[in-house]
């Protein structure tokens, strides 16, 4: 009898449990079905810290205006290079918009992206920053943030105290300014060299390429050996000049790029080739004492661009288009440039939005005779990029004609392997 009761009670408990689960499930479903779901876009980017905060301010403004929520996920370089392309090739996924700084990555992944040709107005941007992400008339990414590499940064007070003046020609730079800085007491070397990943040396070299060979030379090198070889006499001439300055001991040994700013500030170096973002770094103790001069006689200036792309199988394609349109527009970019340290890609952002020093950079970059050219190593990317960084470190630490020849041969081999002939 008791066994029978026990059997009944077990069955009863099981039935009650099943009913509770079913009712709870139905209730949850009905609740969610009846509640209007707010769209929540997912954005991947590489930024952290100040850059992330600045970007989130712009995203906050977008949410205020449209009611569309945006969730930001900070990803690593390796994530974007390896796992994200795998995700894009194997939908479904949850990412709507990705911010990437590498045109080659965008072109490689274009089969998994939605074109933004009709999302942005091409004429709102400098032509050279659209062309790296454009194939056969289709634009794959919206440029919305620019870091300019305008030239050599220095302290005004350092120049004034030591009677130094900004050079107007390359000869003046090499024959007058650099020896004069070398002679200043307490100076280790006239020019600081940044390290860590290798991009600071790349930026400096790009300055020499455009300063001595013209902006078209850099554009050709970005196109690859089909347009220009790394062993071309014009390239060799640029590197011979750079090697000469290195051999003369005017450049420091590459060291942590942020620590070098502190040494620039303390008077151990006189000049430092860096991007416009230097103005917001804490090592710069007084931005009003910071100034720059471009490579004398240059016709181009490198710009690292952050691009926004829409994934092909984005869960919220219409809202993603809205976001990219907003980011590429003057309003969002005005919010971001007001924070300082970087520049807008949209030409309609007013000069009044910039800080004083950024405004000077913008004025230089937009003057007639200066062409904005995409960052060389970010445009080619891949293994060539790491080869370039590594070979430049070799040239910097063992400068000689034979090293230069070896470096150019290595770059040519790597370019052929990656870009073809």
């Amino acid at each position: 009898m008791s066994n029978r009761l026990s059997g009944i009670s077990k069955t009863l408990v099981a039935i009650v449990l099943i009913i509770i689960i079913v009712v709870a499930g139905v209730a949850v479903y009905v609740y969610y079905a009846s509640t209007p779901q707010q769209t929540n876009l997912t954005v991947y980017a590489l930024w952290q810290g100040t850059e992330e905060d600045n970007f989130k301010q712009a995203l906050g403004n977008f949410t205020e205006n449209t009611g569309i929520e945006v969730t930001y996920f900070g990803r690593t370089t390796e994530d974007l290079l390896v796992s994200v392309p795998q995700q894009l090739a194997n939908p479904p996924y949850d990412v709507d918009v990705i911010i990437a700084p590498w045109p080659y990555w965008i072109k490689d992944n274009s089969p998994y992206l939605t074109a933004v040709t009709d999302v942005i107005t091409e004429s709102d941007f400098p032509a050279n920053i659209i062309s790296p992400v454009k194939t056969d008339g289709t634009i794959w990414a919206a440029p919305f943030k620019l870091s300019g590499k305008p030239g050599f940064w220095f302290r005004d007070s350092f120049f004034q105290n030591n009677g130094l003046s900004v050079p107007t020609t390359y000869e003046e730079l090499v024959a007058t300014l650099l020896p004069a800085i070398q002679a200043v007491p307490g100076i280790e070397q006239p020019i600081a060299s940044g390290d860590t990943d290798g991009w600071p040396l790349s930026d400096t070299t790009e300055g020499f390429i455009m300063g001595l060979g013209g902006y078209q030379l850099q554009l050709d090198l970005e196109t690859g050996p089909s347009a220009r070889n790394w062993t071309d006499p014009q390239v060799r001439n640029v590197f011979a000049n750079l090697t000469g300055i290195l051999e003369a001991g005017y450049f420091s040994t590459p060291a942590d790029w942020e620590a070098q700013i502190a040494k620039l500030w303390s008077g151990q170096y006189g000049l430092y080739w860096q991007g416009s973002f230097i103005t917001t770094l804490p090592e710069v103790q007084d931005v009003n004492d910071l100034d720059f001069f471009p490579f004398p006689g240059t016709t181009g200036v490198a710009g690292s661009v952050d691009y926004a792309v829409i994934t092909k199988e984005a869960p919220h394609p219409d809202e993603a288009r809205q976001l990219v349109q907003y980011l590429a527009g003057a309003d969002a970019q005005e919010i971001m440039v007001k924070q300082g340290g970087f520049l807008a890609t949209n030409v309609n952002v007013p000069n009044s939005a910039y800080t004083t020093i950024d405004s000077k950079v913008v004025a230089f970059m937009s003057q007639p005779g200066i062409t904005i050219v995409p960052d060389l190593d970010d445009t080619i990317g891949g293994q060539w990029q790491t080869t370039f960084w590594d070979q430049l470190k070799l040239l910097w630490t063992s400068p000689s004609d034979s090293t230069m020849n070896s470096v150019l041969n290595a770059l040519q081999t790597a370019a052929i392997e990656q870009q073809g002939t």
């Binding site: 040994t253 293994q383 070979q391 081999t413």
Partner: protein
Amino acid sequence: MMKNKNKNPFFFLRRFFTISRLFLIPAFIFLMIFVFYPIVATVYTSFISNTTGNFVGLENYNSVLFHGVYPLINGPNILQGVTPLGGLVNNFIWIGIHLPVVVFSGMFLAVLLRDVKGGTIIKSIVFLGVVIPLVVGGVLFRFILDKDAGVVNAFLSLIGLGGITRTWYAFADTALLSIILGSIWIWTGFGMIVYSAGLQGIPVELYEAAEIDGASRWKTFWRITVPMLRSTSIVVVTMTVLWELKIFDIVYVVTRGGPGGASDVLAYRMYNIGIFGGNYAAGSAIAVLLTLMTIGFAAYMVSRMSKP
């Protein structure tokens, strides 16, 4: 009927295996997905073209071993543009310097600190290098060898050698040696601890007998301690060589394989080609090479361990 079935000894045997197999299924599935499939896929990928997916035989192996774009340790012009055996040459240099130093210094420290008062504390301090993550060790080592902030250069200046101070890892001729020396500091603690454990297993009677026979300390060390630590030495050598073959973190943090490939090693090249370069096929070829070398070496050492 049931009773008869239970009496059958084969029934229990069959039942035992059926249940055990059932329990094995989840683990087997995980192994298939996370171990066997990646191994097979990696080997397969190493034989196909990265761009077309067609079978290319040993082309990827040929490319990573013989068609590198880096010069060999900033070597003479005849070698520039080609790095024989990829970064493997540097792995061998690493083993050639790091292995003997780690083995002998580990044994030396273990013997030296065996009966010393406070030896345990000193051992703990030496062992800290093993506990510190290699990435952190690499960052520390960048500071130690830095021209301005490093203690190495401060010491050189102190003894009147200020003229040769430099950021040692930044130059092609000293980069590899710098990180090898850094890794000695990191890994010596491992050898010391394993040898310390080995020393505990040597019977005290052997030392007492040697003392009675009038053997010197030096003779005792070579005739008793070293032979009795043979198995321990095999473990230390095996683990150290495997560690040296797969070395990546410290190279990544300190030099990124440079300058000019001077400190490149196979594992870093695998990352550089496979992850940064997007050439999964060549990256897989390096992975297969590394696996074959580590398995081959480990199998050889284990076989030596089992010999009397």
